[in-house]
Symmetry: C2
């Protein structure tokens, strides 16, 4: 890991908010987007929080992202609604979509919002945590530009299409947040930057061999789908389903350029488990399942297996106590962004 | 592959049907279950068709599976229903659950049936094909007994929990059917039986090293989750969600014994894409996505990447033309089962 500093959560959120106002987001929208971004770093997902803001700002300045576009419903049928993001900030559109899916689920047991023409939603897991905080289970996913070769091919034709599954309970929500590549490009960049080998093979090198060298994979752009042919297939169906339900476009129609990655299709499915269970039943079920995983014989003595989201709660606690850890390079880029947005704090203010 | 024979589809279905009647299934239920089983072999999923019938018969004889138990609804809220399988034949309960989910989806856009206390559903993909044949998209999954170590552990505490995602269109339905282990135990057995190495590492040997030796993985019972920690996490959330929605039990509560693997929890989610798309729009979208995958530069010249379900349609065509391929060992076991059920054909009948 590069050198890190710690920034108080409230300060981080406030400073992001000012940057977003500087980029043209209205006050309330800037506040929400800043909270979601700061929470991403708070939870330790450093690849998708403040580190992504310069790219977001560039998108706004290039006219690729429309800062004041509001997501809106364009069609509905029963418990499904189709929304468009209007190429606005992706985290705000995704948050609104999940919020609406939960409203439908409150009435119908489950609700689905399919969102077309949106921009990068930053941390996928954000919308899973959002659901569990309101007591809902959820699944959501996004397509992305082509950045993953299908199994059997060496040019990118699939997205890495992150999938989130979230399960509520009172003390320890479960949130799975997984991209369909073994490692996201953000994670590859972070391993490359600190010169570390990947823990398992993550893609192919120039010789066409599986490698743990992140830089080699960045060069070939041949990331490995999770589980070889299986993740390749799962990525494909998530993409087609997102485009079909949202009426939006599929990965093969998206420009293979991160600076122009807008027009994404996403699905938000909320389920109201309290329509069928008491909170006590849910807590008991979740606790039993967690205990089952913790009881499995660990490979390394004293290091029990973990459930999805478990590490997050530890990191969150630490961030709120000691400050949010931000890598120096990401912080320097953010401070530069503050100046360019005219949002840098002047002395004494 | 072991030695194979080809059996006409109609003959296969008829002979399975007679066996099932011999085991105590009513005529109509035996006919449906026989069709689903024969279709599994027809589609080339030999691990989960006629090869599993001896185990099903043993379950009935041991009183573990109740042949005449009918699945039924026990609770509902909006577009979600909770059903129980009553420990009846798992493929019949799953088929009924998906059928009901589609009925709900016809009214509500999407419908969910969560099924508790059921038995092994045989081929997971069956219920995806069922949905696409009626023009529905679907997701469904099951939990299983503990048969997969969580990432970081060496004893089984997760199921391999197959997940299905299915997308309809007029000519080439897309059906993904994936267990959360890199290989199912059925597939491992089949590689072991023919003495072949797995194409990629599928689990750990006695030395704790990743291996392509199927027999070694059967001995250690340390199968590898798809994508290491990612499939481990996905397996966990699918299990908890299935138990929570169905009111049934989770993997850690299931006996780790294939002969007693009943009480499973499953989720069937159907989506009516025609509520939002014309069939023409869906066909165009699917064709574009398939063309995108086929256009990716293949690793081996002339062997383009494939989409989930593509190989199935080829195999199906071949089976209907030349007869269904059945491994000799599976066939011999089936013929033995026929005798024991008194369903063997007598000469001239």
């Amino acid at each position: 890991m590069g050198c890190m500093r710690r920034v108080a959560f409230a300060e981080l959120q406030e400073r992001i908010e000012r940057v977003l106002v500087g980029l043209g987001l209205g006050a309330e929208r800037a506040a929400l987007s800043a909270r979601l971004t700061a929470e991403t770093d708070r939870d330790g997902v450093r690849t998708h929080g403040v580190a992504r803001l310069p790219r977001f700002a560039q998108g706004v300045r290039d006219g690729v992202i429309v800062p004041d576009a509001e997501p809106r419903c364009v069609a509905k049928f029963g418990a499904i609604e189709r929304w468009t993001g209007g190429r606005g900030p992706g985290n705000l559109a995704a948050y609104a979509a999940m919020q609406r899916a939960m409203e439908i689920a409150k009435e119908q047991g489950l609700g689905c919002v399919a969102l077309a023409d949106t921009s990068h939603w930053m941390r996928a897991g954000t919308y899973g945590w959002q659901a569990t905080e309101e007591g809902f289970a959820a699944m959501c996913w996004t397509n992305t530009m082509p950045n993953l070769p299908p199994w059997g091919a060496k040019s990118a034709a699939l997205g890495n299409n992150p999938l989130v599954v979230a399960i509520p309970n009172e003390t320890q929500p479960i949130v799975l947040d997984m991209a369909m590549s073994q490692f996201s490009y953000g994670t590859l960049a972070s391993y490359r930057a600190r010169g570390a080998a990947l823990p398992v093979p993550g893609g192919y090198d120039e010789q066409g061999l599986l490698t743990t060298d992140a830089a080699a994979i960045e060069r070939t752009q041949r990331a490995l789908p999770v589980g070889f042919w299986k993740g390749s297939g799962l990525s494909f169906v998530l993409d087609v389903l997102a485009a079909m339900l949202s009426g939006g476009i599929a990965t093969h129609q998206l420009p293979a350029d991160p600076a122009k990655e807008v027009g994404l299709s996403q699905v938000f499915l909320a389920i109201a488990p309290e329509s069928l269970n008491t909170m006590e039943e849910m807590n008991r079920l979740v606790q039993g399942a967690i205990d089952g995983v913790h009881a499995a014989t660990p490979i390394e003595a004293g290091k029990p297996a973990r459930y999805p989201g478990e590490a997050t709660l530890h990191t969150r606690e630490e961030s709120l106590r000691d400050g949010v850890a931000v890598e120096d390079a990401a912080w320097d880029a953010f401070v530069k962004l503050e100046s360019s947005c005219g949002s840098a704090r002047t002395a004494g203010v």
